[in-house]
């Protein structure tokens, strides 16, 4: 038992003496988090674009139209800038905005009198989502204008003619009120009711897309670390440490247990560091930080033993590395490290969640979301680690001799 500690200290010392490797391990999650934040932004990141408006009308209709883009959630995505026609055309040609809207002269008059008017929208061909949104909003607004004409056309035309006296304005108000009251039977209660159903597990996760990607990415780092540490068994085999170990009374069980504990501590450090980086850089919400770190370390030990078994089954170091890469790459792809399960085709996601790393990612996500501790999951991993320790210990001793 005492030798387990000696063996752990030996492996930790060796890891500590290799600062490049340590920095690489800590760098992988940091680098991934930075890249994701740069690409997708922090937290609830949304696309952001600019709408250039050429207002040649200068009337109330144009003001209402421009103002519609500054309302509610749209204002977070689209910023409005009023420009002259020439400047607007020049800038949209330069790709300086998502779209250019030209509101022609006498647009308001046409709107009030129910005459035809033509709005011109020029889209930036280099963008897709934002010009689509702007076009959809504009289309909705023109539809709204059409229905307004149907409901209150005469009143609007009266207003356009210029009812200046108090009695005229009062008359107009009363008529407008009647028109609205007549419409109430269609509007209240609404004849079509939209029922919204929130599907469990499909709610928007806080932290945006970067945070959605990070648990899987973190496991990719864990997998790489596990693979890297597992290759050490080949170095020890090559320079004769395994043979020497076989001639001592200590035994391979203690030897391997020491390596496993050292790996656990390394993964504990990397897990804590990775989650902290993900939290501060990408706004990843972590409901239970200690449990999440513990889960990463324990499940990472399972992956380490899995990689070590592959290493010890190979006939040469070269074959061992090829075998590891052959297994590691598809597993990380399927296991949610390259694409989150939420974005995968359903069939692939189902298969991916069954891979050792995919299952670990799913469980980690549950812990991050604040789900209750799953003793069955921990028991399964610990059982896997114990079984792996026995099998790998036997296999390493066999290859040593």
């Amino acid at each position: 038992m005492r030798f387990v500690l000696t063996s752990t200290v030996k492996d930790l010392r060796r890891i500590r003496r290799d600062p490049v490797t340590i920095l690489t391990w800590l760098g992988i999650p940091t680098f991934i988090a930075i890249i994701l934040v740069v690409i997708f932004g922090r937290g609830d990141a949304r696309p952001n674009g600019k709408l250039l408006i050429v207002d040649e009308d200068q009337g109330i209709g144009a003001t209402l139209l421009s103002g519609a883009f500054s309302q509610g959630a749209l204002s977070n995505m689209i910023s409005i800038e009023k420009v002259e026609r020439e400047e607007g055309r020049h800038r949209i040609n330069q790709g300086d905005a998502s779209a250019l809207l030209i509101i022609p002269k006498d647009f308001t008059i046409a709107l009030l009198e129910g005459k035809a008017a033509q709005l011109q929208l020029l889209r930036n061909p280099a963008q897709r989502i934002l010009p689509d949104i702007i076009e959809q909003v504009l289309s909705t607004l023109t539809d709204a204008a059409f229905y307004l004409q149907i409901v209150a056309g005469p009143q609007l035309r009266e207003a356009a003619r210029g009812a200046t006296s108090d009695s005229g304005i009062a008359q107009l108000s009363v008529e407008f009120n009647h028109a609205v009251a007549n419409s109430r039977k269609y509007l209240v209660p609404p004849m079509i009711q939209l029922e919204t159903q929130v599907i469990e597990g499909k709610t928007d996760k806080p932290g945006g897309f970067a945070a959605l990607m990070l648990p899987g990415m973190l496991y990719m780092a864990v997998f790489f670390i596990a693979g890297g540490l597992a290759t050490d068994v080949w170095r020890e085999r090559t320079f004769g440490a395994l043979r020497r170990m076989a001639t001592t009374p200590a035994g391979f069980g203690a030897f391997l247990a020491g390596k496993l504990i050292a790996t656990f501590l390394v993964l504990l450090l990397v897990g804590a560091f990775g989650l902290a980086v993900a939290h501060f850089l990408a706004d990843l919400r972590i409901a239970n930080f200690p449990l999440a770190v513990l889960w990463i370390a324990v499940s990472g030990c399972g992956l380490y033993l899995f990689m070590m078994l592959l290493q010890s089954l190979a006939s040469t170091e070269r074959v061992a590395n090829m075998l590891s890469n052959f297994v590691l790459l598809p597993l990380t792809m399927l296991g949610g490290s390259f694409f989150p399960f939420d974005l995968m085709p359903k069939g692939f996601a189902q298969i991916g969640r069954l891979t050792p790393n995919g299952w670990s990612v799913t469980e980690l996500q549950k812990i991050l979301d604040g789900a209750a501790v799953t003793p069955a999951a921990f028991a399964a991993v610990i059982l896997f680690v114990v079984a792996g320790w026995l099998v790998v210990g036997w296999q390493v001793r066999r290859t040593a001799c």
């Binding site: 030798f3 063996s7 320079f239 440490a241 020497r244 170990m245 001592t248 009374p249 035994g251």
Partner: protein
């Protein structure tokens, strides 16, 4: 004490060691001399319980290495052929690890580490990562890791391969010290000089068989104090046999068209008559005369040089 009886190790159809029997007493250095691939490392592997014998019995300090492996391994110190050390650890850390693997701990381990570092002349470099060490220093540390727990049985598998002469002398002194301290030492080598100067008793091994065993004096007696005369040139083997049959005290060890090895008593005084006889059956172009030694014994027993 090491007791090996009728040891046999077989890999499929290949027999690496067959019916090897010997005993190494406490305080004795027992040498296992043979060329590469003779079965020396396999024998050490079986004694150190690294390999499981196919047949036979091995006892170390009374413990059967198969049935009572852990107890046997507690008595054994192994100095392997390869430098089985962690390059990124210091000398002290390596000793601490391998001493720990042998069951040492605490103050005893610390004291023993200092002792063996002093013994091997590495005390002043104890804290350096050993990747900065020379080959000779690594060899000495490799040895130190094998003796840190004061084993009663020390197995050394060609520990001086690739070592500079100074380090070799130092290592051999260290081995002698271990034997003087009461350890049974099994020393494998293919360097005859080492075996001659170091070992109390020797076994010559070839193709997995022990072909001769005894003290150096006993082995030399097998040569009957004869010199070894090796000739190169162009020979007719049948005619040579006929020509030399007339001379007394001459034995042909090996003969072909280009080489001739003879065991001859008092060869230096009989060279003229030998050349006269040989020249009737060929032409001599080169001559080597060797005094009775392990090499001449090996050639006599196997018909080939030790390094072949």
């Amino acid at each position: 004490m090491i007791e090996v009886a009728q040891l046999r190790k077989q890999y499929g159809d290949v027999v690496a060691v067959k019916d090897v029997t010997f005993t190494a007493q406490p305080g004795e250095i027992f040498g296992l001399l043979g060329p590469n691939g003779a079965g020396k490392t396999t024998t050490i592997g079986c004694i150190s319980s690294l390999l499981t014998p196919t047949a036979g019995h091995i006892r170390v300090m009374g413990h059967d290495v198969v049935r009572d492996g852990v107890a046997a391994r507690r008595s054994i110190g192994v100095v392997p052929q390869e430098i089985a050390l962690y390059d990124d650890l210091s000398a002290r850390e390596n000793l601490s690890y391998w001493g720990g693997a042998q069951g040492l701990r605490g103050a005893l381990l610390r004291d023993r580490i200092t002792e063996v570092l002093e013994l091997t002349g590495l005390l002043d470099r104890a804290k350096e990562p050993i990747k900065r060490f020379s080959g000779g220093m690594k060899r000495r540390l490799n040895f130190a890791c094998g003796i840190v727990h004061q084993p009663r049985v020390l197995l050394l598998d060609e520990p001086t391969v690739g070592v500079d002469p100074q380090s070799r002398v130092r290592l051999l002194e260290l081995v002698r010290d271990q034997a003087k301290g009461g350890a049974s030492v099994l020393y494998t080598t293919h360097y005859m000089e080492e075996a001659q100067s170091l070992c109390d008793r020797l076994a010559i091994i070839d193709h997995g068989n022990i072909i001769a065993q005894g003290t150096l004096a006993e082995l030399r007696a097998l040569l009957a104090e004869r010199d070894l005369l090796r000739l190169t040139g162009v020979f007719r083997p049948d005619a040579i046999r006929e020509a030399l049959a007339r001379l007394e005290g001459v034995e042909i060890i090996q003969s072909d068209e280009s080489q001739l090895s003879l065991s001859v008593s008092d060869a230096s005084h009989r060279l003229p008559s030998l050349f006269a006889a040989i020249n009737t059956a060929g032409e001599v172009r080169g001559t080597t005369l060797t005094q009775p030694s392990l090499e001449s014994l090996f050639i006599k027993l196997t018909g080939k040089e030790l390094r072949e």
